[in-house]
Symmetry: C2
Subunit: 269 residues, 2 copies
């Protein structure tokens, strides 16, 4: 209750009324998958259609008034989600499965609700998240299969997966990842994160990088992939991963890998 009141008190009166921020609202947690190809990312913005916009528009229609959906974090334009998590409050409570089906009937086929359930008002998709997993998919061959061109990063040069794994091991742990943030100064809290897993697996022409952490800085997942690709190409030594990390400064040696290879894979609570 207190949490709801505090939230309400910070809203402008018109938003307060519009969002019908009442103590009797019901909070929902949803799991969403999306193909990020045709979206300007998760978050609503002036230029381009976003996933949040599509979801909020469907929710608004259902609930008969504006609904704000909060995700576990933003994803960039072109980035996909095997499982993104969001929460929102509805004035008209309904059963989770009914809500899931109703939303899927309204949403475009590149956004799918995997599950929906009622949660206590204390649940917050971003703040309550314990850890997140990203996976980065590389197609390492002369040609990407055309039907996978929007969901694999294309790297022509044969990658040395052993070297990539060596570099990856040097980055695991609770460290300052400022060197892997798009703009370390823009991070509101600290740039320290606990990277609990960073592994590389190859299956034929496909290479998958798995990164798990208690949180990711802005563009950190794509920056880790960018560094590992450079190591795999032989442009960087595996040991340089540690030097770059220790520098705590963004460098051109860490490129941001292309968006189409990245999947928000899972969020745990």
């Amino acid at each position: 209750m207190l949490d709801v009141e505090r939230q309400c008190s910070t809203l402008k009166p018109e938003t307060f009324l519009a969002a019908a921020c009442r103590a009797d609202m019901q909070r929902y947690k949803i799991e969403i998958a999306y193909d990020g190809t045709n979206y300007a990312g998760w978050q609503i913005q002036q230029n381009g259609v976003t996933i949040q916009e599509k979801l909020q528009s469907a929710l608004g229609q259902l609930d008969g008034g504006p609904v704000i959906a909060h995700a576990s974090g933003r994803t960039d334009a072109g980035v996909h989600a095997q499982k993104q998590v969001a929460h929102f409050d509805l004035a008209q409570p309904r059963d989770g499965e009914t809500l899931r089906r109703a939303l899927n009937a309204m949403l475009p086929p590149d956004i799918r609700i995997l599950s929906a359930r009622r949660v206590p008002p204390s649940f917050h998709a971003r703040k309550s998240a314990k850890s997140k997993e990203y996976r980065y998919f590389i197609w390492n061959a002369e040609i990407v299969p055309p039907y996978y061109r929007h969901c694999r990063a294309h790297v022509r040069k044969p990658l040395d997966v052993g070297a990539m794994a060596k570099a990856a091991r040097l980055l695991v742990g609770e460290r300052d990842f400022a060197a892997f943030a798009a703009n370390p100064n823009r991070e509101v809290d600290s740039t320290i994160r606990k990277l609990s897993e960073l592994t590389i697996a190859r299956r034929g022409p496909e290479i998958v990088i798995r990164a798990m952490a208690n949180g990711f800085l802005y563009r950190m997942a794509r920056s880790l992939a960018g560094l590992l690709i450079r190591v795999g190409e032989g442009a960087l030594n595996p040991a340089e991963a540690e030097t770059i990390l220790a520098s705590r400064a963004r460098t051109a040696r860490v490129p941001t890998a292309p968006a189409e290879g990245l999947f928000l894979w899972n969020v745990t609570y």
Copy 2:
């Protein structure tokens, strides 16, 4: 030579001149991958853009005159190719790898040339083919990952892979597959084909049907998949596969499975 002359003699004079059907033309074999989503199939037609049209347009620009590309077989609208094979003759000979790169620079990203090489004029993409492999990909879960929605057939009901495999084994061999042709009367030669392999594999929610034969009747691959899906759903007994095959007549019990799950996987010569 004789083959070329025979071909030329069957062409109308204007086509003869346009296609510059000369003994000094060079024949090429190409391997092509495509995402069939945005095409009305392989073959040129009035309504809708086709892969043959895109390819011939690029070849025509390169060669400075009309070029006809012959595929190992047609693929329907929405069907993909991990490896389709085609041949054509060029008046201006060029090295295979140069040709491959030039074509890829001209073609849209959903059509990719995997390889190109000179072959003797006796090579014919359809007539010289020894066997073909199709793979049919099913996503067997409540939701298809949105980024795979164009390249997986969606089946919600849990499929019994064991039953499917049982039915598949009854169809292997040199048999009359009239019951698995869209229109058995339209098949120009016989409806007998040698199905050398028909296997089912599951990996998590994904089920892959592999079909290898010396040739496939029109829509045979999707009809085999259609029957196997019905068996997997429990709507048909595995043993009924044999009865239906023996009937040599098309029946509503054999639906044509959706195009998006089908991939022309390989053609061997």
